[in-house]
């Protein structure tokens, strides 16, 4: 049956058809939907783990038990999972295992651009890279075969334009896969130095075998055009699509479906038939460096950038010197950056931070938008969990700022890697204040459950791990664990001031569900009484997309207003009315 399918959905379909039994992941754009779609199949047990390291270790456990398993993540998630990644390489598999990682060239929704291909080389694991939805299904199946044949986890590399593009796919039935027998074998699975030494030798032998496979497998395809081809293009994944679009049949192609290990002989064979070689790859000069290492002269990053994503337009301009023609209006078009949604419970928290002029150690999630004008209150955003751990270091160096600084993290990010930072803070006698924005969901990636929501990915009820309980368990004193409603900004400000002055490590949980969450009641909208409005712009300081100045007076867009009531608390003239007031 033919169907149009998102790349991520096709990956999930591949997992289903290949008889995969377990998927454990942490959400992260652009990888999230793989696990969500996988969860829709009754035959696959799928779960959200608190972080990628836990997820990958869960998948390794399932593989040891003999079932086919997978673990999905975004590129920065692989950094978190790097420890089990490297050791998984030594241990090999029982049932086939895939590590599926989605890079984000162009940073559509990420804090950095990172080329995951280096992880394949560093961990000595084979890596496949599909170029469309159809290949997503095929390569997942091929990956499991490869995994079991060579006793190795296999990495599937995606990127935003593969994960989030739909294309036509061909569906097949699920092929059930028998459990592989479990036989106790400490020499293979207990990685003490004595056991790991011989395993390293096996890994190197495996790599040689995989290189031979790469030279002969049909994942790497050569397409020769013309008798005496001029330009030969070596490429993979989404770059292949752009190259094919621009050069059509005027060039020949070596399309690499397996990007580690690279097929040395096949590359040499291809190159010998072309007079000029161009390597087209997004981000780093990974294929290019390999070519140079084996003595092949190529064009690549001398012509193409190492930053941002590619397109047919970019290749036309950089490789053929053709610039696109376009028209535009003469006006300056105001940008439209993402903003906190109307009714977002985070908004008031950042308003208070700004008002108190605090140093704010931020984290990863929707609330990163608290850095944008007019709230402009965040000082740092690094990586998952870093708000808690880095404020500890900051305040050790500048203890006088302990009462003027705060760390802010979401519920899911706290569960991901904020907890260990809090343990460190308490253990090492820190006095910092942590604000946990508990909106009862993992919001940024599109509403995924997490350990504190009380529901699983399979939509079952479960124990809710509450941040207050965690704080108490790791040693924050009960009187310094406070819970407030973030829409009550006066109360939040009071509690925050008390904890900042306490000289003790403290946790303030701001609990209110995400305004977009199903079941959250939308209250009647507010409106501005133009006669009472003094144009003071106080209501404009919270960056609510519903409020604008029209003809010199504040105006509320009643179709967008959720009736959260934050703005009425800022108006000193009683000009805002309606809602539940």
């Amino acid at each position: 049956m033919k169907k149009i399918m998102l790349g991520n959905e096709a990956v999930a379909r591949g997992l289903y058809e290949a008889g995969c039994r377990l998927v454990s992941s942490y959400p992260g754009t652009p990888s999230t939907e793989i696990t969500e779609y996988a969860a829709k199949y009754d035959e696959i047990y799928a779960e959200w783990a608190p972080n990628e390291k836990v997820a990958l270790e869960t998948a390794i456990g399932a593989s040891v038990a003999g079932g086919r398993s997978a673990c999905c993540m975004k590129h920065v998630g692989l950094n978190v999972a790097a420890d089990p990644l490297f050791i998984g390489s030594y241990v090999g598999v029982g049932g086939g295992m895939l590590i599926i990682v989605a890079d984000d060239p162009g940073m559509h929704s990420s804090q950095n651009e990172q080329d995951s291909r280096h992880y394949a080389e560093a961990s000595k694991l084979p890596m496949l890279e599909p170029s469309n939805s159809k290949e997503c299904i095929e390569f997942v199946k091929a990956g499991f075969e490869l995994s079991e044949k060579f006793d190795t986890p296999v990495i599937i590399r995606l990127c935003t334009r593969i994960s989030h593009s739909q294309g036509i796919v061909e569906l097949s039935e699920r092929a059930e896969h028998e459990l592989v027998d479990y036989v106790k074998d400490p020499t293979k699975r207990v990685m003490t130095p004595a056991n790991a030494k011989p395993r390293h030798i096996i890994v190197e032998q495996r790599l040689n075998n995989l290189s031979e496979f790469a030279d002969n497998c049909d994942l790497n395809t050569i397409e020769m055009n013309g008798n005496k081809p001029d330009i030969g293009i070596i490429t993979s994944g989404t770059s292949y699509n752009y190259a094919r679009e621009v050069f059509g049949d005027s060039a020949s192609y070596l399309k690499l479906g397996m990007v580690f290990p690279l097929p040395e002989n096949k590359i040499k064979d291809f190159v010998s038939n072309c007079s000029r070689i161009i390597v087209i790859e997004e981000l780093d000069d990974y294929i290019e460096s390999f070519c140079k290492k084996i003595g092949i002269i190529v064009d690549g990053k001398n012509l193409l950038p190492k930053t941002d994503e590619f397109s047919q337009d970019l290749l036309r301009e950089k490789l053929l010197g053709i610039k696109s023609e376009s028209v535009s209006v003469d006006d300056k078009i105001p940008g439209r950056p993402p903003v906190l949604c109307p009714g977002c419970p985070h908004r008031g928290v950042f308003y208070v931070f700004k008002k108190l002029k605090l140093y704010v150690s931020g984290d990863i999630g929707c609330y990163t938008l608290g850095a944008a004008p007019p709230l402009s209150s965040i000082d740092t955003t690094f990586c998952m969990g870093a708000s808690v751990s880095s404020i500890h270091g900051f305040n050790k160096i500048r203890p006088e700022l302990t009462g003027k600084s705060v760390a802010v993290i979401g519920d899911s990010t706290f569960m991901h890697s904020g907890i260990t930072g809090l343990v460190n803070l308490v253990y090492n006698k820190g006095q910092s204040t942590l604000v946990i924005l508990d909106n009862r969901i993992t919001a940024m990636t599109g509403h995924q459950e997490n350990p504190s929501t009380g529901r699983t990915l399979k939509d079952e009820s479960t124990y809710a791990v509450m941040p207050e309980d965690v704080a108490l368990a790791v040693g924050v004193k009960k009187e310094h664990i406070r819970t407030v409603d973030p829409l009550d900004i006066a109360e939040f400000e009071k509690v925050l001031k008390e904890e900042l002055a306490s000289g003790e490590p403290s946790v303030i949980v701001c609990r209110r569900p995400c305004a977009l969450l199903k079941g959250v009641e939308r209250l009647p909208a507010y409106h501005v009484d133009a006669d009472k409005c003094k144009s003071c712009r106080a209501c404009m300081t919270i960056g609510c997309p519903c409020i604008s100045m029209t003809d010199g007076k504040a105006k509320i867009d009643e179709t967008l207003c959720t009736g959260c009531g934050l703005c009425i608390k800022l108006c000193r003239f009683g000009a805002i009315n309606g809602g539940n007031k």
Binding site: Y242, E245, P334
Partner: protein, 194 residues
């Protein structure tokens, strides 16, 4: 079967429902037997940011994205977004726009102004622009959430597909209980005379 790939862009503000619009066009194209690729944006940009979806179809489609000067049709859910993405329009292409205005944050904070007379200014550049208040059409159909389907209807005449294929696609793309109101919104858009 045509040789050249056709390019349609759907632009708007995060949360306006462009994913349904791309599904309707994608399914129509599939019914016609073409190869197709649709590229979407998820994550951060969906939080009220400027969002774009690309639909490309033809005998064989390679790239999932559309670049400057390549779009045959731009469908815009919001007026400013039509102006923002105008450079992506091909010479001789057409812009179909809902005249709704949503202020972006730089306008809200007063840093910049929302440009006026945008439909006229785009027209003055010699570009074919079809503008309508599709929110009004949606209300007329009986549900303001069908504004995006009314806009697809408005675009329908410029796609070069027969109306039956488009209606069939609306049928497969929307939930059965909202089919009637969506079909009505589609027809109001398709038959709109300015």
């Amino acid at each position: 079967m045509m040789n050249e790939t056709k390019n349609i862009m759907i632009v708007g503000v995060g949360g306006q429902g462009s994913l349904l619009a791309s599904r309707i066009i994608g399914n129509a194209v599939l019914l016609k037997g073409y190869d197709v690729k649709v590229s979407e944006v998820h994550g951060m940009s969906q939080r009220g940011g400027s969002v774009v979806t690309y639909v490309r179809y033809g005998e064989k489609v390679w790239s999932p994205v559309i670049c400057r000067g390549e779009a045959d049709i731009i469908i815009s859910f919001e007026l400013l977004e039509a102006a923002r993405w105008l450079p992506y329009l091909k010479k001789g292409g057409v812009i179909v726009v809902n005249t709704q205005k949503i202020n972006p944050m730089p306008v809200i904070t007063g840093a910049l102004e929302y440009p006026d007379q945008l439909v006229e200014k785009i027209k003055a550049k010699g570009i074919k622009i079809v503008a309508a208040d599709t929110l009004k059409l949606a209300k007329e159909a009986g549900n303001e959430r069908t504004s995006n389907v009314a806009l697809i209807g408005l675009m329908g005449r410029y796609l070069g597909f027969d109306v039956e294929t488009l209606k069939e696609s609306v049928k497969i793309s929307v939930p059965a209980k909202f089919l009637e109101v969506n079909l009505k919104a589609f027809e109001l858009g398709y038959n709109y005379e300015k």
